[in-house]
Amino acid sequence: MIDCDVILQRLSQYLDGESCDDELNALRQEAAPRPDCLAMLDAMLWVHRSLAIAPMAETRRDFSVTVTQELARRQRRDKILLGGILTLGALIALAPLLLVAWGGLAAMLQPGLLQHGVSWAVDMISNAAAYGIAALAVIRRLPQWALVSISTFLSLSFLLLALALVMQKAPEQLRISQEINRQTA
């Protein structure tokens, strides 16, 4: 006796058009001694037949109107969002420059690890945030010029950061070199 699951599997193959018409009679005969299996077979056939003639769901709503309205609304929203992102990006990119410049100046006037460490950490956090904004811009598929602007801000920020760090380290390096020269002499 064939397992009922196998019978149902073969029924599905029949419904998928993979076997001939005689297959259904053969399956019914196989399932006949087992009422549960025959009930499942009939139910599967009923499901198939009912689905095959099920009507399309209808709606009276005209989506062409609502879709164009929604598209216009989203375009307005995206413009505002883009302006906001660019402003935020500019502020975030400029903030570390000011902080590093201030940190560099302070370090030159009064060298100390605290000054260096604080300005470095603030710059890293700010740049990470700026990259986050840039990633958001990519996800939101903003225009290319917006991405270029953000990238420029970031590049400028890193360039000035490097300059500021060199400026911060230069007096210390000079002092160490002089100390070594003096000791050597």
């Binding site: 009939d42 009923w46 689905l51 099920a54 709606t59 164009t68 989203r74």
Partner: protein, 204 residues
């Protein structure tokens, strides 16, 4: 879109090209052409009129914003139905229902029985369609999609596999499980119904 320059109305390809260039009115023509099949898919997938309308609108908005990714060699309806089915599956998954446990759900007992419904009788087709929708709502999103695409759109297994991003064997397997699960729902509701012995499921 410059319709005066041509004697015949613009073709779908021309409407799509105009829409791609930002012409929303051209896209509105596309929406009018395909809103019925897209809405039907969303309704059959989601089983709720309001949600289906929202999903239909979102499908067309996603299609418009991704028009540059559309391959013109492919049928637009297939592409837009792919977007619709993916969106509906996402919505269904967000409902956070444990689909696998639904066979033991007491809600199953509330589903009306097929009883004496004759699918060929037009007066009873609407009622049967509602019942069918209730059984369909019990299936997991992965099983629901191939059922809708096969029975309402007549897609081949290859087309369904392409839309769902799975193999043809997986489509057939899911269809079998979907039919079996729906059949189980019918037999379970019949056995729990007091009239079950009097009104068996009609045989073919």
């Amino acid at each position: 879109m410059n319709q005066a320059a041509t004697s015949s109305p613009p073709s779908e390809r021309e409407y799509l090209l105009s829409a791609k260039n930002g012409d929303q009115q051209a896209f509105a023509h596309i929406v009018q052409s395909y809103q019925r099949p897209v809405y039907n898919l969303c309704y059959r997938m989601l089983g709720n009129q309001q949600e289906a309308e929202d999903a239909t609108q979102e499908t067309f908005i996603r299609a418009y914003t991704n028009l540059d990714r559309f391959n013109p060699d492919r049928k637009f309806i297939n592409w837009v139905l792919t977007i619709a089915s993916n969106h509906c599956v996402d919505r269904l998954r967000k409902r956070r229902i444990n689909w696998s446990s639904l066979e033991d759900d007491p809600y199953v007992e509330k589903i009306p029985m097929p009883e004496s419904i004759d699918p060929h009788h037009s007066a009873e087709r609407s009622e049967m369609s509602d019942q069918m929708q209730q059984w369909l709502d019990q299936l997991s999103p992965d099983y629901r999609t191939p059922v809708v695409l096969l029975y309402w759109y007549g897609y081949s297994y290859e087309e369904i596999a392409r839309i769902m991003g799975v193999s043809v064997a997986a489509v057939k397997s899911r269809l079998h499980r979907a039919r079996k699960q729906m059949a189980q729902l019918i037999t379970q509701s019949q056995s729990s119904h007091p009239l079950a012995t009097e009104t068996p499921i009609p045989t073919l």
